[in-house]
């Protein structure tokens, strides 16, 4: 395995393998071993994607989905961390609230969509509300966990050093909760993308989710695959961006 010990070599061969799979796909699709309705050639998919990206409607749909996702995620994260901190720091509040959490936790996020549809109708604000509501829980629950599991020894040290209440929260409890908070943020990000797509499919409003639904309905498989690729890229980019932030904030963990 000497060729793969070098990291850049490893990347190179890995890319080769990936291209190999693409090549295999191209061969199988062109030879129509599987019906091109289900299995269009990658070359066709990429061409279609390129054509899509040259049209303003694509970017409209793209920004619609992304903005809903980001807005919902950001607001949910802010509320989740703040509320989670308050709840996590107060044992008395937790006694009243945690059982309610346990009731809500097992619910699939998408199951609450019909409730919001009944309340708000099939429109943009419904989608953002759904994303907000569902993205709130992973961040909130993880933040509560992070704040309530502060090492007791550190709290004693804080007492001995006569740190103020604010200092304890910001210098000890918050940094201690950061790993948990980021775990929650990662989950929430994934949830927000998923629910953006699902809500769009249900509501029929403009967006990437709607694009692929329409493509499937009219049997335009190349457009469908292109749309799936776009969603994959969105997932990848957003997750990587968050991971970079996490890596920087939690750099003390990496050493």
């Amino acid at each position: 395995m000497s060729k793969l010990d070098n990291p850049s070599h490893s990347w190179f061969f890995s890319i080769l393998v990936f291209l190999g799979f693409l090549g295999l796909w191209q061969v199988v699709a062109t030879a129509e071993l599987i019906s091109p309705v289900f299995f269009p050639a990658p070359q066709k998919c990429f061409v279609t994607l390129y054509e899509q990206m040259n049209q303003p409607e694509f970017w409209q749909a793209f920004w619609q989905t992304i903005s809903r996702m980001i807005v919902g995620f950001s607001v949910a994260s802010l509320c989740g961390v703040t509320l989670g901190a308050i709840i996590g720091l107060s044992p008395r509040v937790r006694i009243y609230i945690e059982p309610t959490f346990e009731l809500i936790r097992p619910l699939p996020a998408s199951a609450i969509i019909p409730v919001f549809v009944l309340l708000m109708g099939l429109n943009d604000s419904m989608i953002v509300a759904v994303i907000l509501f569902s993205s709130l829980w992973p961040v909130l629950l993880n933040t509560v966990h992070g704040f309530k599991t502060v090492e007791p020894r550190l709290l004693e040290v804080a007492q001995i050093l006569h740190l103020s209440q604010m200092e304890v929260i910001f210098k000890i409890a918050l940094p201690n909760a950061m790993p948990d908070i980021f775990a929650g943020l990662r989950l929430s990000l994934t949830v927000s993308l998923i629910l953006a797509v699902v809500a769009e499919m249900l509501a029929g409003t403009t967006g990437l989710g709607q694009n692929i639904t329409l493509a499937a309905r009219s049997f335009r498989s190349a457009d469908l695959y292109a749309g799936i690729m776009v969603l994959g890229v969105v997932g990848y980019v957003t997750n990587t961006a968050l991971a970079k932030v996490e890596h920087h904030v939690l750099r003390w963990r990496a050493v």
Partner: protein, 253 residues
């Protein structure tokens, strides 16, 4: 006892307030129904058989997908865990396909399989595959090196090494992965039913919503939550029973 009471205080007050507001006609009951009607509907869906049928449909899709995805994930995970070369070679491919949200595949699966169980199975399998792949690879890598050396000393062939040492040693963590994947399977199959598949609990939810039967809608939501909770609790119990004795550390969910 006091703790239980305090814990139920908030849900109790919310339900009570809701019921009272509707009773005094302050809030119209059609849009969101009210607790006593929901409770009646919750029982009603058992009595008219819809719950059982829907649950069975969801279960068939979720279970088959979970089994398929988890098995493939475990097999690949063992392969990746045992062979660094393989893991490195496949890295780009894995990292390209993994970020695709499983819901994005629903239209594709619909195109290929049409309505029915296979639609759910395929999407659920995709979403269960990745967590098991990662957990299994990590578990295999993390096996006490001493045990691997022992298997070498005993001259085990690959099959024996996997079945007698690797799998048992990695099993506790793999089980945790399967438990988490089960929750994912339930969520994904309900999602597939909500968006596309006209069967199962998710579809029952949509039907209730579209026919403005908020009481049935909330009843189904409650049942879905209960089923999810029971599933997780049952699996947790099995986990403690089987693996608790091995001195296995518990991961927080």
């Amino acid at each position: 006892m006091m703790r239980l009471f305090k814990g139920l205080l908030i849900p109790g007050c919310v339900l009570g307030l809701w019921q009272w507001l509707v009773l005094i006609q302050y809030v119209k009951s059609e849009s969101l129904s009210y607790p006593s009607a929901i409770a009646a509907a919750a029982i009603g869906v058992i009595q008219d058989g819809t719950l059982l049928v829907a649950a069975a449909q969801t279960f068939s899709g979720a279970f088959s997908g979970w089994l398929l995805g988890a098995t493939l994930g475990i097999v690949m995970g063992i392969a990746f865990g045992l062979s660094q070369t393989l893991s490195h070679l496949m890295k780009i491919t894995v990292e390209t396909v993994r970020p695709i949200p499983s819901v994005a595949l629903i239209p594709l699966a619909l195109l290929i399989y049409g309505y029915g169980v296979l639609l759910e199975t395929s999407v659920v399998a995709f979403s269960c595959f990745w967590p098991l792949l990662i957990v299994t690879e990590s578990a295999v890598r993390g096996i006490e090196p001493r045990l691997i050396e022992v298997s070498r000393m005993l001259n085990f062939n690959l099959f024996d090494r996997v079945t007698k040492i690797i799998l048992p040693a990695a099993l506790p963590r793999i089980f945790v992965g399967m438990r988490l994947a089960a929750a994912v399977a339930l969520v994904v199959s309900v999602t597939v039913e909500i968006t596309a598949n006209p069967m199962g609990l998710g579809y029952a939810l949509i039907v209730a919503q579209e026919s403005m039967r908020a009481d049935r809608m909330f009843a189904f939501i409650g049942w879905i939550g209960l089923i999810g909770w029971s599933l997780n609790t049952a699996l947790l119990n099995i986990q403690y029973r089987w693996f608790g004795k091995m001195g296995f550390w518990e991961e927080q969910v």
